[in-house]
Structure formats: structure tokens, C-alpha cells
């Protein structure tokens, strides 16, 4: 057996092998080590797949050796590669950094169960991204969702419980809507394979069930992606989850649902529903604009660090959808690029917050006042990540904002000016809320006697590695840009 033939399958199989073993381990150190090793292994597989994709290899894998559409097909292309890197990278970084943080927040005897849930969350997310079968995506979506509920509910804060219940309700409704949509399409075409659907939907005489199906799938996935106004489950879930869990989920979880949405829309619906491009734009562009403006505005007034950053995430999802709603090569490139860059930026921001949490009990702005003296390295990483979030030249965030503005300007006319203004205002608001953090940390005197020390080397070093990645990909963005262009080509290529 040659492992490289089975790389696509191994991305998930490795995780499925690890989870039952980890759940049986009693020692928490061993459980953490096994989980981290498995996560790093999947990261390596993701890198191998990405290199293959960059070399032009088209990964197509048939489960059980049954040809599609009779069996389930796996497909990895540029778009999948970006997400795989984000998912596995975020997971590995969070795990490597999080040993002490998790130890603080989760009881020792429950940790093996927690880590098994982490592995399954990773398996679910990765499984969605490599699958080319609509129902298979549903199954893995539920694996990742159930595992995320467990992860979010893991912390000591009791407010996580109502938050995760709301997350469960919303998530299940979203998944069920998606299932209804898939059922309606299956009813009209008789197949579940995405590529096959694209072909067969041409022959469908009657468009209204397909339209209803598109509606259900869109709403269901928008719920899971926390697209405004269906985002209300996100702020509380991210705020009250264990800190390392927030790092992992904020970097990639909602983007995966956006991935499925874009795939479905561009591969199956766009060319088959007349005028669908316009529908897509008219529907999503306003929502994206609202997301950017309203979510950033709410973040301005937030007093809790994690909640402020969670609202910022809702705004960033708005940016990603804005790029996609332009339905052009440039727009989609910007969109996919921002998926990658936001993962790095938000990941490092939340990692820095996790560092702060090691020394401070509360994470409100007043609690961390004056902490820059005691924790200079942590705050340094936070500032660097914040600059990337804002989009300062030299950082990764700038590259995606630049591409986004170029795509918007291509539209021309009043709409281009309006959208550019929206993006600029959004960035200005980001400046303000990042500045509030900086101001409290550096320029306010400490309210209480600070007994904080700098964060432990483990978590601090990983935080800096991810923060520096922001800088690296800002100066040398070739890798993410190439992948994003491949992705945009693939998506736009289906509109002909």
C-alpha cells in the first residue's frame, strides 16, 4: 500500500483511528500528547495534499472503490486545500499552546473525553472539506457540530451551558434545513454527488423545487456560518468556551460552512437557475454590508475581550461573503484569501487572549488594565495580530483587504464607491476596538495589584509563531494567493 495514493482518505482515517484510542487513555498528559501528535500528523497530510494541488494534481478518491455516483467520492482542490490548512493548522497550534490553559479549565479525569471530542471535531471539519457528496457533507457536519458543542461546554463558566444549548438549537435547525434542501434536489435529480448534480439539474424541467431547495440550503448553511442576521449563537459560545477551544473554532469552524455554501452555489445552482448570479448578489451583498458595519459597531462598545473579538469575527465573515457576492474572479480570490488570513489573525489574537487568561481571572478591559508592563511579549503578539486584523500594510490582513477593494472597484460606479467606503469604515472601527485594548493594556494604570507574570513559554512561543505568520504572509503572500486563485478559478469555471 502506498500512502500517497490514499492521502485524501487518510486525512480523516487517521483521526478516526485515534479517537477510540484516546478515549480509553486514562492519563491526561498522554491524552494531550496523543491528540497533539495526531493533529500534527493531519497537518502534515494537509500540507502534502496542498503541495500536490499546487503541482496540478487532481485528487479524486472513491470510497470502497465504487464509482461515483454509486459510491461516495472525495475531492481535494485549491479551495479544499486552503481550508484544510486552516483547520489542521489552527487545531495543531491551539493544542500545542494549550496544555496548561486546558489543564486550568478542565478537570483532570474528564480530559481524555475532551481530547477525543477535539479529534472528532477535527475529523468532522476535515471530512466536510474533502467530500464531494452532499449527504456525506451532512454526516460530517453533524460530527463536527456535536463535537463542537462538547468542546464549548467544557469550560468552568456556567454561562457556557445556555450558550451551547442555543448553539445546539441553531446548529441543528441549520443542519436540518440543509438536509431538506439536499432532499429536494435529490428528488429532482436522483443523485447525491455534487458533480453529478450539476449535470443532471440541467434536465430538470421544473425550477421551483430547485429554487426552494437552494433557499433551504442557503439559509441552513448561513445559520451555521453565523452570517448576519443568523449569527446570534456565536458571541456567547465563543466567549464562554475554554480559551483554547475559541482559538480553534474562531479560526475555522464557520468558514467550513461558507465553503459548502459556495461550492453548492457555484457548482450546482449558478448556471442552472437563470438569473441566479443576480439573486446571489442581491441577497448576500446587503447582508455582508450589515455584518461588517453592525458587528464592528457592537464590538466597539464591548467590554469583554473575548466577546469583542467574537463580534469582530462576525464582521470578518461579512468581508468574506462580500467578496463572494461580487461573483467575479477577483472577488472570489479575495474571499478565499481572507478565509486564510483571518484564520491566522484571529487565531493569534485568541491565543494572546489565552496567554492573558493564564495570569488574569477576568478578561474584561478593566481587568487587564496596565498589563503590558507585566506581560510585554503577550501584548506584543496581540498588537501584531491586531494590526493584521485591521489590515495594516505588511501584514496578511492588508493583502486580503487590498484584493477585496480591487475586486470591489472592478464593479465600477456608485456601488464600488459605496462598498469601498464600507470596507474602509469597517477597518477604521477595527482600529478603534484594537486601540481600546492597547490603551487599556499600555496606558492605564493597573487597578489592582498585579501579580501577573509573563505567560509560560509554551503558549507564548506558539502565539508568537502564529503572530509572525501574519507578518510572513503579509510580505510573501504567494502561497495563499496561488491557492485562492486556483479556488476562484474552479468556482467561477462552473459559471459558463
Amino acid at each position: 500500500m502506498n500512502p500517497s495514493d490514499h492521502l485524501a482518505a487518510l486525512q480523516v482515517v487517521v483521526l478516526f483511528l485515534a479517537a477510540p484510542i484516546i478515549v480509553l487513555l486514562q492519563a491526561r498528559r498522554l491524552a494531550w500528547a496523543a491528540t497533539t501528535l495526531t493533529s500534527l500528523l493531519t497537518f502534515a497530510i494537509a500540507i502534502a495534499l496542498t503541495l500536490g494541488v499546487l503541482n496540478g494534481q487532481d485528487y479524486q478518491y472513491f470510497m470502497g472503490s465504487w464509482p461515483a455516483p454509486f459510491g461516495i467520492e472525495l475531492r481535494v482542490d485549491g479551495f479544499s486545500a486552503v481550508l484544510l490548512l486552516a483547520i489542521t493548522g489552527a487545531s495543531s497550534a491551539a493544542l500545542l499552546a494549550g496544555y496548561h490553559s486546558l489543564d486550568q479549565q478542565i478537570e483532570a479525569k474528564r480530559q481524555p473525553l475532551f481530547f477525543a471530542a477535539w479529534i472528532l471535531a477535527l475529523a468532522g471539519l476535515a471530512g466536510i472539506v474533502i467530500s464531494a457528496d452532499a449527504f456525506n457533507i451532512f454526516v460530517f457536519m453533524e460530527i463536527s457540530s456535536l463535537a463542537s458543542y462538547v468542546l464549548v461546554a467544557g469550560g468552568p463558566d456556567k454561562r457556557a451551558l445556555p450558550a451551547v444549548f442555543k448553539y445546539l438549537i441553531f446548529g441543528t435547525i441549520g443542519a436540518t434545513f440543509y438536509l431538506i434542501g439536499v432532499g429536494l434536489i435529490y428528488m429532482m435529480t436522483g443523485t447525491l454527488n455534487l458533480a453529478d448534480m450539476e449535470v443532471r439539474i440541467h434536465d430538470v424541467a421544473d425550477q421551483s423545487p430547485v429554487l426552494v431547495a437552494a433557499g433551504f440550503i442557503t439559509v441552513g448553511l448561513a445559520l451555521k456560518a453565523a452570517l448576519f442576521p443568523l449569527h446570534i449563537w456565536l458571541p456567547n459560545s465563543y466567549t464562554f468556551a475554554p480559551h483554547v477551544v475559541t482559538v480553534f473554532l474562531a479560526a475555522c469552524a464557520t468558514k467550513v460552512s461558507l465553503y459548502v455554501l459556495l461550492r453548492f452555489d457555484f457548482f450546482v445552482f449558478q448556471q442552472n437557475l437563470t438569473g441566479h448570479e443576480l439573486q446571489f448578489t442581491f441577497f448576500f451583498m446587503p447582508l455582508a454590508v450589515f455584518a461588517i458595519l453592525i458587528a464592528s459597531a457592537v464590538a466597539l462598545f464591548e467590554k469583554d475581550l473575548k466577546r469583542m473579538l467574537a463580534w469582530s469575527s462576525v464582521a470578518q465573515i461579512g468581508y468574506i461573503v462580500l467578496g463572494a457576492s461580487i461573483v467575479s474572479l477577483a472577488g472570489l480570490t479575495a474571499s478565499v484569501l481572507h478565509v486564510f488570513n483571518h484564520a491566522i489573525a484571529k487565531g493569534s489574537l485568541f491565543l494572546a487572549v489565552a496567554c492573558l487568561a493564564m495570569s488574569f481571572r477576568g478578561l474584561r478591559l478593566n481587568d487587564i488594565a496596565g498589563c503590558a508592563k507585566a506581560m510585554p511579549w503577550t501584548m506584543g503578539a496581540l498588537v501584531l495580530a491586531g494590526l493584521s486584523l485591521i489590515g495594516v500594510p505588511g501584514t496578511a490582513g492588508f493583502i486580503s483587504k487590498w484584493y477585496l477593494i480591487s475586486a470591489v472597484l472592478e464593479l465600477g460606479g456608485g456601488i464600488a464607491i459605496f462598498l469601498t467606503a464600507v470596507i474602509v469604515i469597517g477597518s477604521l472601527m477595527a482600529v478603534v476596538y484594537i486601540w481600546r485594548i492597547v490603551e487599556h493594556a499600555y496606558f492605564r494604570p493597573a487597578e489592582t495589584e498585579i501579580v501577573a507574570r509573563e505567560a509560560p513559554l509554551g503558549i507564548l512561543s506558539i502565539t508568537w509563531v502564529v503572530a509572525l505568520a501574519n507578518l510572513y504572509f503579509g510580505i510573501n503572500p504567494e502561497l495563499p494567493v496561488t491557492l485562492s486563485e486556483l479556488a476562484a478559478d474552479a468556482l467561477m469555471g462552473h459559471i459558463k
Binding site: 500500500m1 490514499h6 478516526f16 472503490s65 475529523a123 456525506n136 429536494l184 447525491l192 423545487p209
Partner: protein
């Protein structure tokens, strides 16, 4: 005749669902939910979905009700009566219902063999299963072989539910340390004569039936999920009659965790073995020189894995809820 019966069942479904939403006593609501599931199972049976009917009856009506009752005993009995302005909600809901009903007018007629849903993939399954897989139950063939990857995912959904419930309900109870509600030696329903006698009579038959469903899944309705649920409910019946302590003595936690992990592991290893023997993941044809035999072997093995995991997971969930009472 069947039409009248089906219409009657469907109408009962709607009435029951409205009753569930309106019932103020949660115990009543849960019991109505069990009736709802049974009606749904009957409906599935009328629509020729035998496997699904069995699963809905075993898992939906059986296990879900037990878990709900377990949770109810730990929470509240009644819903608080609140006067809410429901106008907007009813409008939104009614509007969506109307949109859906509008969409149905273009749907293919029920039962029309020329409908697109019955073309392409389905006839291929029906015609090729005897040649490629060699078992009569096409649903099991699709579940166990053609779409085995989905079933693997499903096993892990059960796995994560088990882990999740265990994780959540093994947390330290922060609320006031009440005296234990029931003594640790609570002995279930031992003093109630009728349940005790009937239960003891039924228990071995339930287990036997569960094993039958497990291994007969290829020839008739059945398979790992249903079998796992049936065997689990048998053991839960035992636990209810004889007390949780004796049930745990018979099948302790370590065995249960071993079952949950072992079943999932077995399934994945079958797939890995097929990779190692030259095929793709979960390609059973490579297991023996006769590919059809290989397929059958593969299906038996993974169904066993599924049954073991589902049984262990459902029992673990039950014990987690039961044990929280004594926490």
C-alpha cells in the same frame, strides 16, 4: 384501503405533534412523543421502508423516550405557564408552511416510477446488488458497502454523543450538596410483582431477538443500529427492574467503554485493512479471492462493529443519566 389507513395515520401524527407542543406536563409530552415516533414508524412501514420503521421504533420510540425520562427525573416536571405574544411567530411559521405547500404542487407524484428520484442511481443498486454484493436486503448493501463511509461517520456520531454525555454528566456537581435522593442500593422495581415477572420472562427473548436482528440484517430488515438499540433496551429493562447497581455489576463501565471504542475501532480497521490489501478504503472486494464473498464478509464485520458501539453508547448514556441522580 391502504390510502385510508395512511391518511388516518398522518392526521394522527399532526394531532399528536400539536398535543406535544401544548402539553404542560412534561411527562405527558414525552409519552406523546413516544406515540408520535410509533405512528411515524407505522407510516414508514406503509411506505415500504421496513428497515427505517424498525430503526424509528427501536431508537425513536424506545431509546429516546428512556433518555428523556431520565433527564426529566433530574429536572422539572411541569412547564411554567407563560403568556407570550405569539402573533409574529405564528405569522412567520404559517407563511413558511404556505411556501412549502406551494412548492409541493410541482413535486413528482407519489409513487410515480418515472420520477427522477427513481432513475439513475436507485435502479443500479437494485439490479447490481445481487451480482456485486450477493445479499437480498438492498438497504443493508447500500448502507454497508456502497455508502459505507457514511455509516462510518454515523458510528462516530453515536460515539461523540456518548463521549459528550459522559463528559457533561461527569462534571463535579456545583449545586448544593443534597442528601442522596435514593440510596445507592436502590433496587429498582423489585417489589412490583408484575413488571418483575414479565420483565424476567422477556429479557432473554429481547436479547435473542437483538442478536437475530443483528445477524439477519442482510436477509431482512435489520442491521447493527437496530440490534444495538434492542439489546441496549433489554439491558436497560434489566437495570430498571433489578436496580442500576446490579446492571453495572453485570456489564461494568469499563466493558461499556471498551465496547464503544472497540466497535468504532473495528469498523475503521476493516477499512484500513482493505487499504493495506490493495483496495481503497472500505473496499471489501479485496478480502478474498471471490469479491462477492469479500463484500459479505466486510458487511458482517462492520455491522458487528456498529452494533457493539451503538449498544455500548446507549447504555453508557443511560447510566450517565441514572448516575447523576446519585451524584
Amino acid at each position: 384501503m391502504i390510502t385510508v389507513f395512511a391518511v388516518f395515520l398522518l392526521s394522527l401524527l399532526v394531532i399528536t405533534s400539536i398535543a406535544i407542543v401544548r402539553a404542560q406536563n412534561l411527562f405527558v409530552a414525552v409519552m406523546l412523543m413516544a406515540i408520535f415516533s410509533l405512528l411515524m414508524a407505522a407510516n414508514f412501514f406503509i411506505l415500504d421502508a421496513a428497515d427505517v420503521a424498525l430503526t424509528e421504533a427501536a431508537i425513536g420510540a424506545g431509546v429516546t423516550t428512556v433518555i428523556f425520562l431520565g433527564a426529566l427525573s433530574l429536572t422539572a416536571e411541569n412547564e411554567k405557564k407563560v403568556e407570550l405574544s405569539r402573533g409574529l411567530a405564528i405569522c412567520v411559521v404559517a407563511a413558511t408552511a404556505l411556501v412549502l405547500i406551494y412548492a409541493t404542487f410541482d413535486k413528482p407524484k407519489l409513487g410515480d416510477p418515472e420520477a427522477p428520484v427513481h432513475q439513475h442511481v436507485a435502479p443500479w443498486y437494485l439490479s447490481e446488488t445481487p451480482n456485486l454484493v450477493g445479499i437480498p436486503n438492498v438497504v443493508t448493501a447500500v448502507l454497508g458497502s456502497f455508502r459505507a463511509y457514511d455509516t462510518l461517520g454515523e458510528v462516530f456520531v453515536v460515539f461523540i454523543a456518548c463521549i459528550g454525555v459522559l463528559f457533561l454528566l461527569s462534571a463535579r456537581n456545583e449545586s448544593d450538596q443534597q442528601s442522596r435522593r435514593s440510596s445507592p442500593d436502590s433496587i429498582g422495581l423489585r417489589h412490583h410483582l408484575i413488571p418483575k415477572v414479565v420483565g424476567r420472562l422477556l429479557f432473554p427473548f429481547i436479547l435473542l431477538f437483538g442478536l437475530y436482528v443483528q445477524f439477519h440484517g442482510e436477509y431482512g430488515p435489520g442491521g447493527g443500529f437496530q440490534a444495538g438499540a434492542i439489546i441496549a433496551t433489554g439491558i436497560i429493562l434489566f437495570a430498571l427492574l433489578e436496580g442500576e447497581k446490579r446492571a453495572l455489576a453485570a456489564v461494568p463501565h469499563s466493558v461499556l467503554m471498551g465496547m464503544v471504542a472497540g466497535g468504532a475501532m473495528m469498523y475503521t480497521l476493516v477499512g484500513v485493512t482493505s487499504m493495506a490489501m490493495g483496495g481503497n478504503f472500505l473496499d471489501y472486494s479485496v478480502f478474498s479471492s471471490d469479491p462477492v464473498f469479500g463484500q459479505q464478509l466486510g458487511i458482517i464485520l462492520i455491522e458487528a462493529g456498529v452494533g457493539i458501539t451503538v449498544c455500548g453508547a446507549l447504555l453508557t448514556i443511560f447510566h450517565a443519566f441514572a448516575a447523576r441522580e446519585n451524584y
